[in-house]
């Protein structure tokens, strides 16, 4: 029973245990991609390296047997740097967008592909739930949004982008027209009270976000009715008031209180609000220097001076959102994104968590596709044309339009270990721009989808297929940078994996080998 010290923590492990086993036993998390319990170490990804006894060279912890007295470094900057480089190199040739370009462009990072998948399959309520995760007022936005997301749509390289904005409106309108309007679920009451000043898009989004996270929220707004710029600044023909009111009613219905005709500084002072609440979010629109002085808050050229990550002002417990923090905004979607962001920061602060660095969701970016690669995505997309115009969509048109989506996002975005560890280690997907693998999606296997462009050549499937006795087997083809894993001797994936298909897909650290969704709701699971 050797005892080793990892980062000064003494751990006794059974004979034959690896350093990775020892670290796991001690609750030290070491990234692994090519490792899988029950398989032989592949020592391929080298994301699990550690330093032993101060040696210059690092060793893979998954394959290094613990020896009595070893002194191991795991969570040190030098070791982390080596792990990050290993991850960044793997990302450098990785052929896949984790998140679709539309979702990355959307300021609120709404999961657009999932919404489209739901609509195409007729699951309109699930579509709306997906939307409301990110966008508090989808029916409103569905009428006034500048369709930023559609600029990223890969379909536009073939004909024209999917009418994403219209589909969002379709799902939201369908919900509002139903007897059972969706009310977002809210966590149990936390006991914290938050004041949100301003009932424009930023304030409404912040309030909803906080309410969902279990806090009591009151909105203080100077206008007689909530809505802010959405009510005053948008033509009624574009955005009928009943739509705005209906979506605000949903926010009211989940328990957000509204105090209208209450001007900050005149009717209630900031100090007053701070005394009565655990936190305050200022979402009162663009602020000039004079107004900032009135509130005794420092400002800069854009608006209130805030921490760009957390949107916190220098005043304890006071945050800012929307134009108040970012300066005049052209698009309501940016206000909504910022409001939600401020809500999350406040929530974190109330829980006593140190504010996490907020750097958008992690994604690899494919960049420009070869025509041949675009074909791969087009194979399963509906050939229908885009629908334009001011009207909403019929049910049939919406289904066809949503099915135009190429589903170019990665199906493993929520459980890809490469993405998970890259995010945890703040790896830059573009540090090493190697010649990236070709995009391909092979769907000949009844159980699996095979995307060789996302393979990291770890060898797990090779081992699993060999152990299962597959006659043909999976194998390494070629060597070095050009090495690929494929069924041996040009066989197809069915022959390559035989009975090992499910196990291989479960072991695959990325989306290279992935089980087909049992039903078509692949992503709602």
């Amino acid at each position: 029973m050797p005892t080793v010290a990892i980062d000064n923590q003494r751990i006794e492990v059974p004979d034959g245990a690896t350093l990775l086993d020892a670290a796991n036993a001690a609750g030290i998390e070491i990234p692994t991609l090519c490792h899988r319990p029950g398989c032989q170490p592949n020592t391929s990804c080298m994301a699990c390296v550690v330093r032993v006894n101060g040696a210059a060279r690092l060793v893979p912890s998954c394959a290094t047997v613990a020896v009595e007295g070893m002194v191991v470094e795991s969570e040190t900057p030098a070791v982390h740097q080596a792990r990050r480089t290993a991850l960044e190199l793997l990302l450098g040739e990785h052929a896949g967008d984790c998140l679709a370009p539309c979702e990355m462009i959307c300021p609120a990072h709404m999961d657009i592909p999932r919404m489209l998948d739901h609509i195409a399959a007729g699951r309109d309520r699930e579509a709306l739930i997906t939307i409301k995760e990110a966008i508090a007022l989808p029916a409103v936005l569905g009428r006034i949004c500048p369709e930023l997301c559609e600029r990223g749509c890969r379909r536009s390289k073939h004909d024209s982008p999917v009418a994403i904005c219209k589909l969002k409106r379709f799902a939201a309108d369908a919900d509002l027209a139903s007897d059972d309007v969706y009310l977002p679920e809210c966590a149990a009451l936390s006991g914290h009270r938050v004041a949100v000043v301003g009932a424009g898009p930023a304030g409404l989004a912040a309030a909803l976000e906080l309410r969902r996270r279990g806090h009591e929220v009151t909105i203080f707004d100077q206008a007689p009715r909530p809505g802010g710029a959405l009510r005053d600044g948008v033509g009624r023909d574009v955005l009928p008031e009943r739509i705005l009111d209906a979506e605000i009613d949903v926010i009211r219905a989940v328990g957000v209180r509204f105090e209208q005709a209450c001007r900050l500084g005149t009717d209630r002072s900031l100090d007053d609000l701070r005394r009565g609440h655990d936190a305050v979010i200022l979402a009162i629109g663009a602020i000039d220097a004079e107004r900032a002085r009135e509130l005794s808050l420092p400002c800069d050229a854009k608006g209130l001076r805030v921490d760009r990550q957390t949107l916190a002002t220098p005043l304890d417990g006071v945050f800012a959102a929307g134009a108040s923090a970012l300066g005049p905004l052209k698009h309501a979607i940016r206000s909504i994104a910022s409001g939600r962001s401020a809500g999350q920061s406040v929530d974190q602060a109330l829980r006593g968590e140190s504010p996490a660095r907020r750097h958008g969701p992690f994604t690899v970016r494919l960049g420009v596709l070869e025509p041949r690669e675009l074909e791969v995505f087009l194979r399963s997309a509906d050939p229908a044309a885009r629908v334009d115009g001011p009207e909403g969509l019929s049910v049939e048109a919406a289904r066809a339009q949503a099915a135009r989506c190429l589903q170019c996002a990665c199906s493993a975005q929520d459980d890809c270990r490469l993405r998970y560890w890259s995010d945890r280690y703040s790896a830059s997907p573009s540090r090493y721009k190697l010649e990236r693998r070709a995009v391909d999606r092979i769907e000949t296997h009844p159980l699996l989808v095979w995307e060789p462009g996302k393979c990291i050549s770890c060898g797990l499937c090779v081992q699993i297929a060999a152990a299962s006795g597959a006659a043909s087997g999976m194998t390494f083809i070629g060597r070095g940078f050009q090495m690929r894993i494929a069924p041996a001797m040009g066989a197809d994936l069915v022959q390559g994996l035989e009975s090992a298909a499910r196990r291989a897909a479960e072991a695959c650290p990325t989306a290279a080998l992935r089980l087909r969704a049992a039903s078509s709701d692949s992503k709602s699971a």
């Binding site: 020592t43 390296v49 793997l90 043909s472 194998t475 070095g480 090495m483 041996a488 001797m489």
Partner: protein, 792 residues
């Protein structure tokens, strides 16, 4: 199913359709059907078909225990195997270090142009010639070297490369029976001995034709001389080398260097007394004619010396050298077992048999010998680990997978001293308790393989192997197989992918059994140590580096060759005294030691002694023995790029830092050489080099950054210049241009030789070079009689 027709419709498009694969069954019958027979089977198929047709491979899976997964992974791993049809003839262009610095890229470009092989393909449309880049043919002193089928041509340049193809085609047409080499008659006891070196470099330098001419002439004169083939003489820069050990008035030795086939006859006539008076008259008449018609060849010996005398250039070359691994250099026929025995051969084996195994290991430890493969692990310690490992079955392996471009020590030792290495193996087997030995030799070294094979046969015939079974396994073209765990995987018939150590091969090696792996040169030093005692060996050398080291001295020196020197001599002694320095007018810039795992030692540090510790101190390593001298026309960024492109291509692909990291480094170096680098590239190159070095799985990746790190350390200004779009050495094609200056006399020679028509012929006018067409092949500049073409 002998003769089964396995014609697959999917492969029917391939030009040569392999329908009958019954030959596979014969191959399998001869080579075995176990997984470890795979590489020999593939080699045999390729020898027969010139490539590996899929139907034949499927047949292998049917008739052996080899799985499709194993077969496909192995056939695609080794560079020696082709999966696509090859042309009738294979043109191998050596891109070893010495060849690279002497312009192998230009040679390849010229050959492609001449043979009509487009970029991105490797064969001409008629499938007559296939061009193949090879890492190193091991004939570095004749750089740049190409090989067409089995014929090697040295000293090529862009303009002379096509001549080799023409010569090759002429040889194909010529009937070998036109000039038969007669059987030797029995010479008189006092007849002179004519020795000719027939190592691979010598043969590449034309020695075989000289040998045939010598034999023919001796026979014509009545056969009163012995023509002896000897191993490498070491003076590779002077090949073909003929030495005549005379008798009577011409006693002593005469050494003829760079002998051409045409002059072979006159050498023989100078030393050999014809038998019979008719022949003497004829001879006198012929010599008279020779005297009238000027002969290009050397009619006089280049150097004549008494056996123990030593003077001038030869003396300088031999001066600091000391022969242990290469004892009796140039004196013995490599395969003449009697001669070897007469010179003390196998005395060491006999002595070792009389010793306790522990005593042998103790002696070895006392000698201070360290592994000559590169890392310098104490040999005695390694042997004692294997000896101490539990288990009956143990193996002794000779690592002859010499892969460093620019190194050919192991090839030369195997070719010239096969018995010495076998002796070393027998002693090792005795010491560690092994009963099986394996020579792992590169497939690219056919002569070494043949000599070891014959030497083993002869030893077996005399009962010299006594209880140790020794066989040869040939590599198939993977540098990484020099790494011991990869080498073992290769012997077992797998991809040469290393595994993490521990466990070391000394505990669990081949087939999981304790295995001793040493380099060729290490074994070659063992018999001397046993015969002379460890103290004699330990007296040579310095510090913790004892004994001698064999180096392949190549590059920009006047006298390249195979040398053996005591540890602790300086770089300067080797480059200047032995090598004769760089060409007149040039400046020594650096010495590359240790190949792709080593470093570039700048001229300022040329007084550093060559021993393990001093080298580590300056960021280099001993390596296996490649020494490439660089002068002021060599670009250090290009050298770093060259080595990285080598290691990148040789990475097995198993671990991410090496597979992807070497590529990322190469991308940066490529950008630098093309003047497209970004200002932060140097920093990211340096940090990436550090990460690849510390987190790669095996020695290949861990040392691959060394050439980059040493050049960054000692030649940072050159990197800086490349960032600014300048190549100070005038090497990087994208950063230089050729221009005609005022001295042009309008002779049109440049226009005539330009292979791409970048110069318009304008008699009596100053010519101009179209820079958009110019490929920087340098032919025009060398052709210009007035030096009016310059590189800017």
């Amino acid at each position: 199913m002998i003769g089964a027709v396995l014609d697959n419709p999917a492969s029917a498009k391939d030009p040569p359709v392999i329908a009958d694969v019954s030959f596979v069954d014969e191959i399998v019958a001869a080579r075995g059907a176990g997984p470890d027979a795979l590489i020999p089977i593939l080699q045999a198929i390729q020898d027969r078909c010139h490539w590996l047709p899929d139907p034949a491979l499927r047949r292998v899976c049917e008739v052996t225990a080899i799985t499709p997964a194993q077969l496909d992974s192995v056939a695609g791993f080794y560079a020696g195997f082709r999966r696509t049809p090859a042309g009738e003839h294979i043109v191998r262009v050596c891109h070893g270090t010495a060849c690279h610095v002497k312009g192998s890229t230009l040679v390849e470009d010229a050959l492609r142009l001449y043979l009509g092989i487009a970029a991105g393909t490797d064969s001409d449309s008629q499938l007559r010639f296939t061009i193949q880049r090879v890492a190193c043919l091991g004939c570095c002193t004749l750089a740049p070297v190409i090989q067409i089928d089995s014929i090697t041509y040295g000293h090529r340049a862009a303009d002379t490369a096509p001549d080799a193809v023409r010569d090759f085609l002429e040889l194909q047409l010529a009937n070998p029976d036109d000039h038969p080499v007669p059987a030797a008659a029995i010479p008189d006891p006092d007849a002179p001995v004519i020795r000719i070196g027939l190592g691979s470099c010598c043969v590449a330098g034309g020695a075989m034709r000289v040998h045939d001419e010598l034999t023919r002439e001796v026979s014509r004169l009545g056969g009163n001389a012995r023509v002896e083939e000897v191993g490498c003489v070491g003076m590779c820069h002077q090949t073909p080398l003929v030495e005549v050990a005379g008798t009577g008035p011409l006693s002593g030795s005469s050494l003829y260097t760079r002998v051409s086939p045409d002059s072979a006859g006159s050498i023989v006539r100078r030393h050999v007394r014809p038998r019979g008076w008719w022949r003497r008259i004829g001879n006198a008449w012929r010599d008279a004619i020779d005297a009238i018609i000027p002969d290009d060849g050397p009619a006089l010996p280049t150097r004549r010396y008494a056996p123990d005398a030593c003077d001038g250039e030869i003396c300088e070359f031999l001066g600091p050298q000391m022969r242990i691994a290469t004892e009796h250099c140039g004196q013995l026929d490599p395969l003449d077992l009697d001669a070897y025995l007469a010179h003390g051969g196998f005395a060491a084996v006999a002595a070792a048999r009389a010793m306790d195994p522990a005593a042998i290991i103790e002696a070895l430890s006392a000698s201070g010998l360290r592994g000559r493969g590169g890392a310098g692990f104490p040999t005695g310690q390694k042997w004692s680990k294997v000896a101490a490992a539990p288990g009956e079955a143990k193996y002794v392996i000779v690592n002859g997978d010499e892969g460093d471009p620019g190194a050919f020590m192991d090839r030369m030792i195997l070719e010239s001293y096969p018995y010495r290495v076998i002796e070393g193996v027998l002693i090792a087997a005795r010491a560690v308790g092994a009963s099986e030995g394996i020579f792992y030799i590169r497939h690219e070294y056919p002569l070494a393989v043949a000599r070891i094979e014959q030497a083993l046969d002869r030893c077996r015939g005399r009962g010299l192997l006594e209880g140790v079974s020794i066989r040869i396994v040939q590599g198939a073209g993977a540098f990484v197989c020099g790494e011991e765990t990869a080498l073992i995987a290769s012997i077992e018939g797998q991809r040469g992918m290393p595994v993490l150590r521990p466990p070391y091969p000394s505990e669990a090696g081949l087939w999981g059994k304790p295995t001793l792996i040493n380099n060729v040169e290490t074994y070659a030093q063992i018999p001397w140590i046993v015969r002379h005692g460890p103290a004699a060996f330990a007296r040579i050398g310095t510090g913790r580096s004892r004994g001698t080291k064999v180096f392949a001295l190549t590059g920009k020196v006047q006298r390249g060759g195979l040398i053996e020197v005591p540890m602790g001599v300086t770089f300067r002694q080797i480059a200047e005294q032995i090598g004769g320095g760089v060409a007149p007018g040039r400046r020594l810039k650096a010495i590359q030691i240790g190949g792709p795992s080593g470093g570039c030692v700048p001229a300022e540090l040329a007084d550093t002694p060559i021993d393990y510790e001093s080298l580590a101190g300056i960021g280099a390593i001993m390596g296996s023995g490649g020494l490439v001298v660089l002068d002021d026309t060599d670009c250090m960024v290009d050298i770093a790029r060259y080595f990285l492109s080598f290691t990148q291509a040789e990475s097995c692909g198993k671990c991410a830092p090496c597979r992807l990291g070497t590529r990322a480094m190469l991308d940066i170096l490529q950008r630098l050489c093309e003047g497209k680098a970004r200002p932060d590239d140097l920093r990211s190159l340096e940090s990436l080099a550090g990460d690849v070095k510390c987190s790669s799985l095996c020695g290949l990746g861990q040392t691959a950054p060394n050439p980059v790190l040493t050049t960054l350390r000692y030649f940072r200004d050159e990197y800086q210049a490349h960032l600014e779009g300048r190549c100070p050495a005038g090497r990087c094609a994208a950063l230089i241009r050729y221009e005609v200056v005022d001295g042009c006399i309008g002779c049109t020679k440049c226009a005539q030789v330009c292979p791409v028509g970048a110069i318009e012929s304008r008699p009596y006018q100053i010519h101009e070079i179209d820079v958009t067409r110019c490929t920087r092949c340098d032919i025009c500049r060398r052709e210009c009689p007035t030096s009016a073409i310059v590189v800017r």
